[in-house]
């Protein structure tokens, strides 16, 4: 067994067996009991030694299946090779070639189903949990760069192609929109981002909580875009404040990218959903995050006084809502999910964190009714037990209700986190924009919509997905837009 110091003295000399013997570096976190009472970030980030040790675990295998597993194709072995020798600025530069938002992706990507899933080391050690912790390293490298910038370091400005005189409108400032803006701006085109909210960032500011993604990071990324010359127009709802087609016909834009995100929250359509105390996760999280209702002294936006909270769903948003409810003072928070932990779509780390914090999970449980207290407020749910049956189209075993298993449970708050339908606004106000039956905008392989000079990507196309998939779509759209504008 080599000591840490020996490993780090000359990492390039390590053989595969020595690399495989290095332990997975755990992510330092705030103590569960403490973090459940504050909004600060839960995961604290690797120390330098941890980062270099973790990077030393990479086998630098020739096939690099991790790159194919990344929706934006980061040169992962490349940035790990720089990290292991402590050349963090060089590592950051490699990531930035293909990923504009590494500090964000390192925190919120579901790495265990993307880059880390096919990792050769994980395969060799027969556990995806033992793959190189690429996400944590991406975060480490990005944070080192942020600290350097905050300390006054000059990071080479992004080089911009000469001005083309072409103008691109980006609708929505979430991950898809920011990615398109950066890539299109680099090609020398003028870019204006239109955002309906009062702040930049889309789901990264209204949805993902501070304790998982500090908002300062989103602000820094927006500031970088501004430094590149990207202009933001807030409080602008395209489709209402400005018609979509008018951007092209009247306002002189040569191309438009639509990245407006998922829209209408889904409800279960069970009795009692209209009761006071039933929230969509979107509403609950927007109140807490964007409107900062967690600060009872300063915020004007009110919060519902929840004590016993039921969260319905098993995705990242359900985890965020449950953990937020706990931080906002709920005595008990239960997640009701109709399948089991294995089928939960949430990022594994978030599920683990939620369990550590004392969130209670009721698997194979699904509400059939929300009942009231006689005064229009939630008093509890009637939940039915399920068992897993045959696999469905998604490959997951289909949950089957067990008749007669209905049981009443008292709750004062129910948060519905079952995903979103698409917002119908743009389709409704834009004749000619083709959408599917769920109002998702239809695009071709280059993210082109049915309308001339209009591209789309992210959740408005995919339905509720992830930050990184939205960025991948943005990247693809930007390539197509740049090619179109050059032609």
């Amino acid at each position: 067994m080599l000591s840490n110091a020996e490993i780090l003295r000359d990492p390039s000399s390590l053989g595969p067996r020595e690399r495989m013997a290095i332990a997975v570096q755990d992510m330092p976190c705030q103590e569960p009991a403490i973090r459940a009472t504050n909004m600060e970030e839960v995961a604290l980030g690797y120390s330098e030694e941890q980062a270099r040790l973790e990077a030393a675990r990479c086998l630098q295998c020739k096939t690099a299946p991790c790159i194919a597993g990344c929706p934006v194709g980061i040169d992962i072995p490349g940035f790990l090779a720089e990290t292991v020798v402590g050349r963090y600025a060089e590592a950051a530069a490699i990531i930035r070639l293909t990923n504009l938002l590494p500090a964000i992706c390192g925190r919120v990507c579901p790495q265990e189903v993307q880059c880390q899933a096919p990792c050769t080391l994980g395969k060799a050690l027969k556990s995806v949990d033992k793959a190189v912790q690429i996400g944590r390293l991406e975060r480490f490298v990005a944070d080192r760069e942020r600290e350097a910038i905050a300390g006054g370091a000059v990071v080479a400005a992004v080089s911009l192609a000469p001005a083309t005189g072409k103008r691109v409108a980006v609708v929505g400032s979430g991950p898809a929109g920011l990615t398109v803006a950066a890539d299109v701006r680099r090609a020398g085109h003028e870019v204006v981002i239109f955002e309906a909210f009062q702040k930049v960032g889309g789901v990264m500011v209204y949805g993902i909580p501070e304790f998982r993604l500090p908002k300062a990071i989103v602000r820094e990324e927006a500031a970088k875009l501004e430094a590149m010359g990207v202009r933001f127009e807030l409080n602008t709802l395209v489709g209402r404040t400005r018609p979509l087609q008018a951007l092209l016909d009247e306002e002189g834009f040569d191309a438009v990218f639509v990245g407006v995100g998922a829209g209408l929250p889904k409800f279960m359509n069970i009795p009692g959903e209209i009761l006071v105390g039933v929230f969509s996760a979107n509403e609950y999280l927007t109140r807490a995050n964007l409107m900062k209702a967690w600060d009872r002294q300063k915020a004007a936006t009110p919060l519902y006084p929840s004590q016993r909270v039921a969260v319905l769903g098993g995705g990242n948003v359900a985890m965020d809502a449950a953990r937020m409810a706990l931080r906002l003072g709920a005595a008990e928070v239960h997640v009701l999910y109709r399948r089991t932990r294995a089928e939960m779509p949430a990022r594994a780390e978030e599920v683990g964190h939620a369990m550590e914090e004392g969130i209670q999970f009721q698997f194979l449980t699904n509400p059939v009714e929300i009942y009231g207290n006689g005064e229009g407020r939630v008093a509890g749910v009637v939940a039915q037990a399920y068992q897993l049956g045959e696999p469905d189209e998604s490959g997951r075993r289909r949950p089957v209700a067990i008749p007669g298993s209905e049981r009443k449970q008292d709750f004062d708050t129910v948060i519905v986190a079952l995903g979103n339908e698409s917002n119908p606004l743009l389709a409704k106000t834009t004749p000619g924009l083709k959408v599917d039956k769920w109002s998702h905008i239809l695009v071709d392989g280059e993210q082109r919509t049915s309308m001339d000079r209009i591209w789309a990507g992210g959740d408005i196309v995919l339905g509720a997905a992830t930050v990184i998939l939205a960025m991948g779509e943005g990247r693809r759209a930007a390539v197509s837009i740049n090619r179109f504008l050059a032609g």
Binding site: T236, L264, P265, V276, N282, T286, K292, A299, Y304, N423
Partner: protein
Amino acid sequence: MFTITGKRQLSAEVYRIEVEAPLIARQRQAGQFVIVQTDIEWGERIPLTIADADPAAGTISLIFQTVGASTHRLADLAVGSGIPAVLGPLGNPTHIDKFGKVVCVGGGIGVAPMHPIAQALKRAGNHVTIIIGARNRELIIMEEEMGTIADDLIVVTDDGSYGRKALVTEPLKELCQMDPKPDLVVAIGPPIMMKFCAETTRPFGVHTLASLNTIMIDGTGMCGGCRVEVAGATKFVCVDGPEFDAHLVDWNSMMSRLRAYKSAEDSAHAAVHAEGGCRLDQVVADLKKGGL
């Protein structure tokens, strides 16, 4: 920043401000609203209806009542200062057509959003009767503006301090009893008033629209806080409304959702107010007894 270019206090609690918002002034249609936020970091997003707009000057007129912290803060802003966030125009515009005989019922502050709707209905060639109601003389707003639009203007106050001493439902019922009866009624005001307007017109089969002002955050279809039950289905006021068939709205759940953030004490207070509505209950009961 959206600069305030004019400000007038219409009554003890009601203000009218003109706000520079050229794009909204150009795009807005009757029936639409905006969301306003007086402080980007800590403020609340509140929906306010658009009372008027001047596309040439690039301004919109907002009329609001000071009911909570946010509307008080808005009322404190002086001419020349700015509102950091104004989003709109939101919601579906009112369907304007030549219906024939139309009755517009505006209660309290609800007269403000009724103004552009009445104006558009008049321009479309309808015979427009406008009923303005308020608790007392002090709370009657926009009488002059509505007078210039209306073929017939009826002003009522609860206490009889001005106009006819009646609730808006009384002249509304009389109009429904006339031949021909109205082809359309549009009611905007406190939920309890809209509910009883619906109950008044229902027996006559007169199509009745109400414009709902629910709790909202984004106003663009994302949060679902504004949802109401209409004919048993969940609808979002911000993207499906704000106008709905008043006969199909579940008024009780809508009113209970509006009280979501009142403390228990406030709820009790609201319940007492709702008993003011019981006066309306009584009116409807009387109407029914009268052989409707």
